[in-house]
Symmetry: C2
Subunit: 301 residues, 2 copies
């Protein structure tokens, strides 16, 4: 079985994780979490989002977080900046990395961003032009690539076309996302196959939520297809399998345990990663979903 020698892990816990947590996390605590993830050797950390504080209160202090974190050489720090106003806020912080967001499902796009897919692509075009001119690197998320909560099935060919469009607009990679956690490995192969008709898989990251427990099997399928970048959330932050509709990203510890077991380098120090998860665990109001995290604590006892 041919697998990549090295994989890039993008930890999205300070954004995709925390934005789904109910507990109030202070700015200082967010800074500590990002610093612990840096210390663990993460290549990229999504540190926050420039979005409406009214709709996503947990992200209200992203500018302060970006201003206060220690920037480790070798780690990139991104923030979601889904529109021109958000880009202006991001530019004011001096950040070098932003992320933009489109959806592969028309209904999800309208409900989530109040824009059609075409309208959101027009927004992304403007954001990318200005961000690239300012020397920023832009990452693209493509949500609902494996299923939509409103429309059900999503056409894999559409995912391939939209991946190409986002790359043409200037994003350096597209995080092909299973927003509602319905994907299974067969679908991963199908979608990646559709993408390869339009783009190199070196430009694709996979972003799995573990709603139905498939995330790591899907990662294995992605590795076998040649994908070398995967998103994950420290501790599985943002997810609680027993709360309706709230299922987080695959836990970074579980992902890294599998990758290291497969002999794949990540540059991540597991003990330091567990230190980050332990810190996060003590700041939220429920148990983390990372299975490796709990197994490692049980073994120590």
């Amino acid at each position: 079985m041919r697998l990549p020698a090295r994989v890039t892990v993008v930890d999205v816990s300070p954004r995709d994780g925390l934005q789904n947590e109910q507990a109030r996390i202070t700015t200082a605590q967010k800074v500590t979490l990002v610093n612990l993830l840096s210390a663990a050797g993460m290549s990229m950390i999504e540190a926050g989002a420039f979005v409406s504080a009214k709709w996503v209160p947990q992200m209200a202090d992203t500018a302060e977080v970006l201003a206060a974190i220690e920037r480790r050489p070798g780690t990139r720090y991104a923030a979601l900046a889904p529109n021109v106003h958000a880009l202006d806020r991001a530019l004011a912080t001096g950040t070098k990395d932003i992320a933009v967001l489109a959806a592969a499902s028309e209904t999800f796009s309208r409900r989530n961003t109040n824009q059609s897919i075409d309208e959101s692509l027009a927004t992304i075009r403007t954001v990318c032009e200005r961000a690239l001119a300012a020397g920023l690197q832009v990452r693209g998320y493509l949500s609902t690539c494996f299923g939509c909560p409103y429309e059900g099935d999503v056409d894999a060919r559409r995912v391939g076309e939209l991946t190409r469009t986002l790359l043409d607009l200037g994003v350096f990679e597209v995080a092909v996302s299973d927003t509602i956690g319905v994907a299974h490995p067969g679908q991963v192969w199908k979608v990646l196959d559709a993408i390869t008709a339009h783009a190199s898989l070196s430009k694709v990251a996979l972003h799995f939520h573990d709603t139905r427990g498939m995330a790591l099997a899907n990662v294995l399928a992605g590795l076998q297809a040649g994908v070398t970048t995967f998103d994950a959330s420290c501790g599985g932050l943002g997810g609680c399998p027993y709360a309706p509709g709230a299922a987080g990203n695959v836990a970074t510890e579980d992902l890294v345990y599998m990758l290291h077991g497969l002999g794949i380098e990540t540059g991540i120090d597991m003990d330091k990663l567990l230190a980050a998860a332990t810190f996060a665990s003590n700041r939220i109001d429920h148990a983390l979903t990372s299975r490796y995290f709990h197994a490692s604590r049980a073994v120590r006892r």
Copy 2:
């Protein structure tokens, strides 16, 4: 990616699941659980164990359970019978299927069964001779095939040799088990490769605990290697990821969701399987670990 067209799922929740639950489950409730699993179309159900009621109180009424269940044509009902005394108790119930138990790690064998591996094989030889003479089918478990809580690494060649030995003693298949849930897909390929030097994979089942969240990735690895039988526990019964040392089998619902997604037939009706998990969920004192179970309930709300 070549995958089998059909897979056999063995639901071990009435035994490996319930024996690790603290809540008191009545005989009638166990019978209902087995009947619901039968109705879901399960090919084999491990319905109980003839073991010491002092050490495993939850299994004290296995004879009564076996006497009361409805036997669906097409479903086999097994009980663990690890020694001659247990076999006598099993024979008295008229059951047609038993399971025996060996370990791939010497220390685990001594601590778990109070016998060396060679002594346990001698026991299994006697049990198999008598069981086969009585027309029973015998399944073999081989525990700690991917790691031992006392010894750490386990030699894959030893797993291959012991699989052959168990088959030679008369078991119809060997459930190669990751007792402590440490396996990752690379190890699955390595162990299965070592087994193929001694036995056909058509005689091998894989039995994963989901302690570190790897179970379904490991199943995918096993499917790709050609294994067509997998153990699982309805609802993930027996496991609680937040309790030290207690991590259950992979949940049957999560396994079946992945298999059906891959286009693999199981003969299992997911809605009826969820009915069994719902019944189990209402009888235990914590949330089930099956992610698909919770996702399906969230979607219904």
